[in-house]
Amino acid sequence: MLSKRIIPCLDVKNKKVTKGVKFQNNVELGDPVEMAVAYSDGGCDELVFYDITASAERRPIDIEMVQEVAKVVHIPFAVGGGIETLEDMYRVLLAGAEKVSVNSLAVKNPEIIAEGAKVFGSQCIVLGMDPVRTDDPRFPSGYEITIRGFRERTGIDALEWAKRAEDLGVGEIVVNSVDADGTRDGFELDLTSMISTSVHIPVVASGGAGTPQHLVDVFSAGQADAAIIASMIHTGEYTIKQIKDELVQAGVAIRKKW
């Protein structure tokens, strides 16, 4: 049986992993390469790195870091932030990443998804989306897509965007709830399940993980194929092993040996 994936997220700024709440107030946590090795050895199923300031600073992603990670981590990892062109994608993949994650860029230029999928394969192209809850009737799903780390609203409905991205050839969608991000109060289950049941590609839930029970919930009620965790392991409050033990107890299919 295919296991649900647990994916630690490493937000990288100035070559250090950081973590903030709702994309703000970031604190430094450690070296990305060391943390990647520790999590990989600790039993995570995949990793994701976001170069969180690359996009705002209008500079290319830190390729050196990607290369360093690829040398020592032999599980899949995705890299996002500052990806603007096919050339950027190529550099990240050639450096050893399994997947490249696009977000703001894809909203401004959706064709990049189709082009990337055609050149590198759908399985390499991940769409990250940052939906925020809204009562505005213009958004039938109840969520509007934001970009540039919640700084900018787009006027695009979240569900409509997910379906469009699937049609364009994206291989996987990371749904990062702006409302839940960094709160550690649990994933936004309705949002995750709405997207996951509306597309035919894997959906990764992101934002809000605080306890192992939150992961049980997102894999059952939330119908996620994978889930991103950050603070709950970055702070040392939980190990991946502890989280996985609870998921096994709850009957969730999970990779038990690594």
Binding site: H74, E98, P202
Partner: protein, 207 residues
């Protein structure tokens, strides 16, 4: 030296880095002479069958691969590399493939709409018979998969490992003499995948 065959089918960096990690000397190459003279050959790849076959033909690598396998060089297929060593793939409206192992690659057609295609992630591989490449790897260990089509050998004696997904139990590892091929990615499967690659780097091609 292990030759990693470069036929423009995806990113080979992770295969190279995994081999370097276990201390195996390797070279990414599209040079037929280098491939034929290599001690071992890895035939990886991601992407679509038709384009892979077109590239192999244009780069004159089909006979090279046949020669490598027939002369007994230990040979490891990975993912798309594994799919195109069969006779035929259902991909791209039907594609004739290399035919090193009798059989077809079929598309997953799950009855459950929530069963996502591609299969992306970790799944167990049940070892259906002992093989030198599985040495030191526990039965039902999990490996990393990304694929929408699966190998279906016409003779079950070629099956070495099986995996359940989308209502089928498919051949996730096949073996025929000096040829071993996996649908999963050992280079992305952590410690257990590295163990399989290490076994391959020492394998004499006999089983």
């Amino acid at each position: 030296m292990i030759a990693i065959v470069d036929y423009k089918a995806g990113n080979l960096t992770s295969v190279r880095l995994a081999l370097e990690h276990i201390g195996a000397s390797c070279e990414i190459t599209d040079n037929p002479a280098r491939i034929v003279s290599a001690e071992r050959v890895i035939f990886p790849g991601v992407g679509a069958a038709a384009e892979a076959m077109r590239n192999l033909r244009e780069m004159s690598l089909l006979d090279t691969l046949r020669e490598v396998v027939s002369k007994g060089t230990p040979f490891l297929g990975i993912c798309l590399g594994t799919q195109v060593i069969f006779e035929f793939s259902e991909e791209d409206g039907g594609t004739d493939c290399i035919g090193l192992i009798p059989g077809t690659c079929r598309k997953f057609t799950p009855s459950d709409p929530m069963c996502k295609i591609p299969q992306m992630g970790w799944n167990t591989v049940e070892q259906t018979r002992p093989h030198p490449l599985f040495e030191g790897i526990e039965d039902a260990s999990e490996f990393y998969f990304v694929h929408s089509y699966y190998p279906a050998p016409s003779d079950s004696s070629y099956i070495v490992g099986e995996t359940d997904y989308a209502d089928v139990k498919f051949a996730s590892a096949v073996g025929k003499g000096n040829l071993f091929a996996t649908q999963f990615h050992p280079e992305r499967s952590g410690r257990i995948g590295l163990k399989l690659l290490e076994n391959f780097s020492k394998w004499d091609g006999r089983c």
